[in-house]
């Protein structure tokens, strides 16, 4: 195998390991949940991305075939990490009622969308049963 390719693959594996370690260290170290959410959703996802790119390059160099599985896993992880973080933050905020008062004012006519239902659309005023169907 080419030495440069080997060096690039090794660097990617080491970087991925370091990023995964930093993400988990942040999960262990940071003070509360809203701060803790940052570490795994960013650093750990990047770490897995590094390992997946290293794997893709490795099998491209060894077998000469570009496998699509890694791109699939990477795309899936990078798409689902923000959704997971959003759901966890939302469930956390709704779990403690005092977090409503801790939020800063939005400066608009409506409140935070997690807690307040949005104002009804002007066209939807004649269908008041819309909220209960959600």
């Amino acid at each position: 195998m080419n030495l440069i390719v080997e060096f690039v693959i090794s660097t990617l594996i080491v970087l991925g390991g370091i990023f995964a370690l930093v993400g988990s260290w942040g999960l262990l170290r940071l003070p509360d949940l809203m701060a803790r959410l940052h570490a795994p959703t960013k650093a750990t996802t990047l770490g897995v991305g590094g390992a997946l790119i290293a794997s893709m390059l490795y099998f491209l160099a060894v077998e000469g075939t570009l496998s699509i599985h890694e791109i699939l896993i990477t795309a899936f992880l990078f798409l689902t990490a923000p959704i997971t973080a959003h759901f966890i933050a939302k469930a956390h905020l709704h779990g403690q009622p005092e977090s409503v008062r801790a939020l800063p004012p939005t400066g608009q006519s409506r409140g935070w969308s997690t807690f307040d239902t949005p104002p009804p659309e002007p066209a939807a005023e004649d269908s008041p049963a819309e909220d209960s169907q959600r």
Binding site: E6, F7, I9, S10, T11, I13, V14, G16, G17, I18, A20, L21, G23, S24, W25, L27, L28, L33, R36, L37, P40, T44, T45, G47, V48, A51, L52, A54, S55, Y58, F59, V62, S67, H69, E70, L72, I73, F76, L77, T80, A81, I83, T84, F87, I88, K90, A91, H92, H94, G95
Partner: protein
């Protein structure tokens, strides 16, 4: 060179899994535990990928893909259960 990098990668990801396990056990709130379990799934995917590089086989990618899908779906289902008291309304 890749062998040494793989050893470092295995050690780092395993240490990360241990840290996540610590947060899973001692997490003060319920959502901390859900977040720790979700991170454990992601780290397990990294471990599977590194193991596939070491074994020089692409068999384990399906396992990694299944882990990714089930980790995401279980986390979202748990959060939804906590939020709404039901998963499918």
């Amino acid at each position: 060179m890749i062998e040494h990098a793989l050893v470092f990668g295995f050690a780092a990801v395993s240490l990360a899994l241990l840290m996540n396990l610590w947060r899973l056990v001692t997490g003060p709130t319920l959502m901390d535990r859900v977040l720790a379990a979700d991170t454990m799934v992601i780290n397990a995917i990294a471990l599977i990928i590194l193991f596939g590089i070491q074994m020089r086989t692409t068999v384990y990618f399906e396992a990694a893909l299944l882990f990714a899908m089930f980790g995401f779906i279980s986390t979202v289902a748990y959060c939804r259960f906590v939020l709404r008291g039901d998963i499918i309304e």
